[in-house]
Symmetry: C2
Subunit: 402 residues, 2 copies
């Protein structure tokens, strides 16, 4: 019987893999296509925001000093010298004793350093305005660059762009954005028993789950999956498929055949290449032990277990953090029951999540390895590190979202 012959823990596996994730290439995309993409360079503001001092209320622009001491019973009097129009430069300059009508967002005229809200004013006749409350200098005004200064760094490389970031980039005039090119990730399912989804399985056969599940997970990570036809457990066919997939992608994920059974030929095929370097065979995790990392020259091949739950779990633990820049990938949750774990390996326990007040309740999903139904019910997984002996009911845990 074959054996796992280079078992590592999952941090080591991740470290080995990391070296073979190629540096991200950059491409420039129009702003309309930048949502959910990852910034490739730092973004600094090319201009100040606001670009002109503007009012934050509807009211009258004045020189603040001239309102000092006024009150309900003793208003200050101003002469209305005109009106600031939205979207236009304020051509007016106010003189002592004057005020100018200004709408929210309007440009502050020269000579003014504050705006009195309309609520605290009264208009008398055509051109006199009474002010019943003093304003401080720059009150109700947003000054040039107060929001964002010129050259201020707004985003670091690696930021995944959300709705408000797209809005922010629009406000600064970015019509194009430098983002990371997605990695091209080849995906090969293998196994004599595996048939495509469109084919009715004969007795003894099963439909291909992993190509679909992993391709979607790759898309979720922001990268470009490419699936290949299912390969039988045949050394020559596997070799050809691997060569083709590597020539067309940045890295390759295989599923099935990475264990130690008679038919698990993936490792033999991979290691037969003169430029192969075995990174690991076997990871001290549950589920997902029969995983495999091989470098073929500069390119990475990761072999995932055939069991869909294990394959997806190992993808999330090993590859997702390296391929995706996701910030909010976990929630804190209360564990609904005791979970035992075996020391000496890292356990990843699938859980379902239910809202529980301001928090979440995580319910571990137990069941035989290889149950598909676990996948459908799992919202997240809990990591029990190898030095830890299980989790107690009621404990706060980190639930990593699928």
């Amino acid at each position: 019987m074959k054996e796992f012959f280079k078992v590592v823990n999952y941090q080591q596996a991740r470290m080995y893999i990391k070296d073979y994730i190629p540096p991200a290439r950059q491409e420039v995309v129009p702003l309309a296509l930048a949502y959910d993409r990852t910034l490739a360079s730092e973004i600094a503001s090319p201009e100040p925001l606001p670009a002109f001092s503007r009012s934050t209320v509807d009211g009258y622009a004045i020189n603040a000093r001239e309102s000092f001491g006024c009150s309900e019973s003793l208003p200050a009097f101003f002469t209305l010298a005109g009106e600031v129009l939205m979207g236009q430069a304020a051509e007016l300059a106010i003189e002592p004793g004057q005020c100018v009508w200004i709408p929210t967002g309007g440009m502050l005229p020269r000579g003014a350093d504050a705006v009195v809200m309309i609520e605290y004013t009264e208009k008398m006749g055509e051109d006199t305005v009474l002010v019943y409350r003093p304003v401080a200098g720059w009150e109700n005004v947003m000054q040039v660059g107060e929001d964002i200064a010129v050259s201020q760094v707004l985003y670091k490389p690696g930021k995944r762009l959300r709705a408000q970031d797209i809005g922010m980039l629009a406000s600064l005039g970015f019509e194009n954005v430098p983002v990371h090119q997605p990695y091209r990730v080849g995906i090969i399912s293998s196994g004599d028993e595996v048939v495509p989804v469109g084919q009715k399985p004969l007795t003894g056969q099963v439909r291909d789950v992993n190509s679909w599940c992993l391709a979607t997970a790759v898309r979720q990570s922001g990268n470009l999956p490419r699936t290949y036809p299912i390969v039988q457990d045949d050394c020559h066919k596997l070799k050809m498929a691997i060569e083709q997939a590597l020539s067309e992608n940045d890295l390759l994920i295989m599923s099935g055949g990475s264990s130690v059974g008679v038919k698990d030929v993936t490792i033999d095929v991979l290691l037969a290449s003169p430029e192969a370097r075995l990174l690991f065979h076997g990871i001290a995790v549950k589920p997902g032990k029969p995983s495999l990392g091989v470098a073929l020259g500069e390119q990475l091949v990761v072999g995932l277990p055939g069991h869909p739950v294990s394959a997806l779990m190992v993808f999330h633990v090993l590859l997702m953090p390296l391929l995706a820049q996701k910030e909010f990938n976990f929630v804190t949750a209360l564990c609904s029951e005791n979970i035992a774990s075996q020391p000496g390996r890292d356990d990843f326990v699938p859980v379902s999540l239910k809202p529980e007040g301001a928090s979440w309740m995580a319910q571990p999903i137990f069941g035989k390895s290889g149950l598909m139904s676990i996948l459908a019910r799992a919202d997240a997984f809990i990591h029990i590190p190898y030095e830890q002996q299980g989790i107690k009911k009621g404990e706060m845990v980190k639930a990593n979202l699928f």
Copy 2:
């Protein structure tokens, strides 16, 4: 001065709006396009999983009874009657005293009801197998339908499909999936001061943020945004733009012009239509009070504030929950400082999030209304209900992700 004339709280606003979100239409898409789409109908399993009883280990299929009582010192003897091949129906049937080699995933042959792991066996000569440990009936076997029974309901309508759900649907042979058609959401920014992102703003002008921010938020919600050219504060132009957008979309979001300033003509234009029904004007929230809901016949027009922070916040509070089926849209976080709030209105406070052990630390972002930089820094928002007087430092809060 104009006034808000139908101020409601935000639950009321949401309720009013809900009635005008049209029922979701259904479409059928290929599985490859179903990721992140929302199921339109219940999915029940058309077949059992597994479809045949299969081994979960590499080993020998036997009749469990025949292993009872065996031990390290007193092995049970079996005659090797053949081999189950992966992907093929097990044609063999075992007779008393026989065993059959079976790989993980292989189909259990007739006459067998358990599998002994290879680790607990030894092969003697060509056709004798010694078993050193007894197995129970159905041990190391997954029986027909044990994972998923025929007609078992797997998903309810409204489920947003993730990687593992796509895998699950593949395993059951779904090549096509019934999903909700996305809503077509028109977006119009208005304001004399607003210029398109590609245009250099003159003094007094600002670039359009809301079209970009809201269109992206609509995409994030899983729906189809359509933006229109910026409209000036001109009743006729607004009327034409609204008519066009409503004829081409299911609902319409406008930004700017929903407040009570002289130039806020949106409401006048909307209410001038004979089939208009005012749902609300003004919501008792901060930020975002100057929001507007109008039904034009069967169609909904929501007017959002011009300030990008307010517009996005109101979108998230009112529209996102109705348009999107997102399950994990909040994390629990520790509040990093006291937050004051005013009773009588619902406050939505933008926060940044930092990991803090197994949890998150939420840091409120304070600043003048209308600051763009708040958007870039905000990861989430905290809701302080109108009856609550602020939040204390160290309190656990629900941080709703943007």
